[in-house]
């Protein structure tokens, strides 16, 4: 791929930077999804619609109700947490009580995803709903062309990563979460209330997905199908990152973002999503424990 007037190094730097931006988004998605997945071992499909809901909430508050952005984002936090906790309380927990096989929860989560995605279509139509502000003024940093939004994405990504690390390693709640990730039965034995831990995990995980939702909504508007590719990216980031290693999902996400964007140099842009998928397959076949993962427990289905 050659562009006249632009050297290979400049091209590489530009695509690498773009990869960092996208990778930061994937990292945020992976962190939020990974927290929920490794703690509860439920493939929370509905995370995709919690993400989309967050975008729509900001849209409704800022564009339809004419409120300042921070209010919209705060509302998105509340709604996301509520949705996540509702999934746990009304759907997953009863299934846990009944000792339902994990596949039952997965299919139910899939159902939740389909229901909410289509409710969004009915409520907001399939057209993207953009936010009125834009941070699109291009700016140049050396050889790289970018926008404020893209820089902000990377910064928010870093901040979120630090927040997650801080939560997991500096708070009591986070330590409880790590205990549950490691061994739920043992955690229960030492007195951790699993029900409360799960509820909190869904709350925190759902809240963590809001920044990514906001950034994407700023960029492209909220649309009903925004949850699907986000969920897939989150899952791949988590699995590539490693079994049981929640922070590692960030690295998985970064890797995906970089690979996708650097891959464009060789392959057409429409095959981008294939790259991430192939990375996943490669990892799962060669190193199923992921980059940073622990033992692969043969996950029962």
């Amino acid at each position: 791929m050659a562009i006249p007037g632009v050297g290979l190094v400049e091209l590489l730097l530009q695509f690498a930077f773009n990869g960092l931006v996208v990778g930061s988004l994937y990292a945020m998605l992976g962190l939020s999804f990974g927290l929920i997945y490794w703690t509860t071992r439920i493939f929370h499909f509905a995370h995709g619609v919690v993400y989309a809901a967050a975008g729509y909430v900001v849209y409704v508050f800022v564009v339809r109700l004419d409120m300042p952005t921070p209010v919209g984002i705060a509302a998105a936090f509340v709604v996301a947490a509520a949705m996540g906790m509702a999934c746990e309380f009304f759907v997953y927990r009863p299934m846990r009580r009944r000792n339902s096989p994990p596949m039952v929860s997965l299919v139910a989560s899939l159902g939740l995803f389909v229901v909410f995605q289509n409710l969004f279509v009915i409520a907001f139509t399939a057209d993207p709903r953009p936010l009125s502000q834009s941070y699109f003024q291009p700016l140049e940093i050396g050889p790289i062309t970018t926008t404020w939004l893209k820089i902000a994405t990377i910064l928010v990504g870093v901040a979120l990563f630090l927040v997650v690390i801080g939560f997991l390693y500096r708070t009591r709640a986070g330590t409880a979460v790590r205990a549950v990730v490691d061994n739920p039965s043992m955690a229960a034995v030492v007195g951790i209330d699993l029900d409360r831990a799960y509820l909190m995990t869904y709350a925190v995980g759902s809240v963590l997905v809001v920044p990514a939702a906001y950034l994407v909504t700023l960029d492209r508007g909220a649309s009903p199908d925004m949850g699907l590719p986000a969920l897939l990216a989150a899952a791949i980031a988590v699995f590539v990152g490693g079994v049981g290693a929640i922070p590692a999902a960030a690295f998985g996400g970064l890797m995906m973002g970089l690979a996708e964007n650097l891959g464009i140099l060789r392959i057409g842009a429409e095959w981008q999503s294939a790259i991430s998928f192939l990375i996943l397959i490669a990892f799962l076949l060669v190193r199923p424990s992921g980059i940073f993962g622990g033992r692969v427990r043969k996950v029962q289905v």
Binding site: F43, L106, V107, V114, F277, I281, K298, Q300
Partner: protein
Amino acid sequence: MDYVVFLATIVGIYVILATSYNLLFGYAGLLSIAHAVFYGVGAYACSLALLRLGVSFPFALIAAMVVSAAVAALLAVPSLRLTGDYLVVASFGFQLIVYSVLLNWKAVTRGPMGLPGIPKPDLFGLRISSSIELLIFVYAVTAICGLVVWRLSRSGFGRVLKALREDEVAAMACGKNVTAYKVTAFVVAGALAGAAGALYASTISFIDPQSFTLNESFFILTTVIVGGAGSFWGGVVGAIVLWVVPESLRFLDLPQTVAGPLRQVAYGALLIGFMMFRPQGIIGEVKQ
């Protein structure tokens, strides 16, 4: 009346889809949300054979089944190492990628413009012309596919698939070649779905990638869940219920922009409802 015949024909096609998916998901416990891939690939293979190569329908049907089976074997490879959630994600990605191929490989598939003018089936010189004849033909194929799944499910093959679903390690310990069974399950399910795709292409006479999206895979999953995973008639019942009931809602006269998504909401709600209150579906599995 014509509409009823058409609906019945579509139901027949979906019975094939549901029973083939049941083999994979209900019996073998392999949750893939990529069944629409085999369906779509079969439809495209058949259409291209009919339109570009000018072969007669039986050959196009076989071509569709072979191509779908090959694609299914591709997906089977990750399934050997991956369990549960990983397989779901892999199939998820597989579905999105194949959809992308159908959409972007314009040279072959004409992308979003689709393939129009697909002829009705012709059998050794006799071309099917009326919708009743088509219905009978489709049902004949459906019956054959159903018979295949029926025999497989009743045989040792079906029992081993269920054993794989319950406890793969135990099955291995009993000396069963897990790889062979999994790949076979995928290949058979894929081939049958490909046949359904061929029938669909010929019935509707126009196909485009929109008919073979993730939503379609969800729908097939829903038919099996509702009807009853793991029991042969579950697939049949599910396909019938999930087509007949929403079609009767047509008479509610909702605007199209609402009716479509509302239908999907209903499917999703069915999935949740059944998982919460009757995971075994309408028919439920016969425990031996």
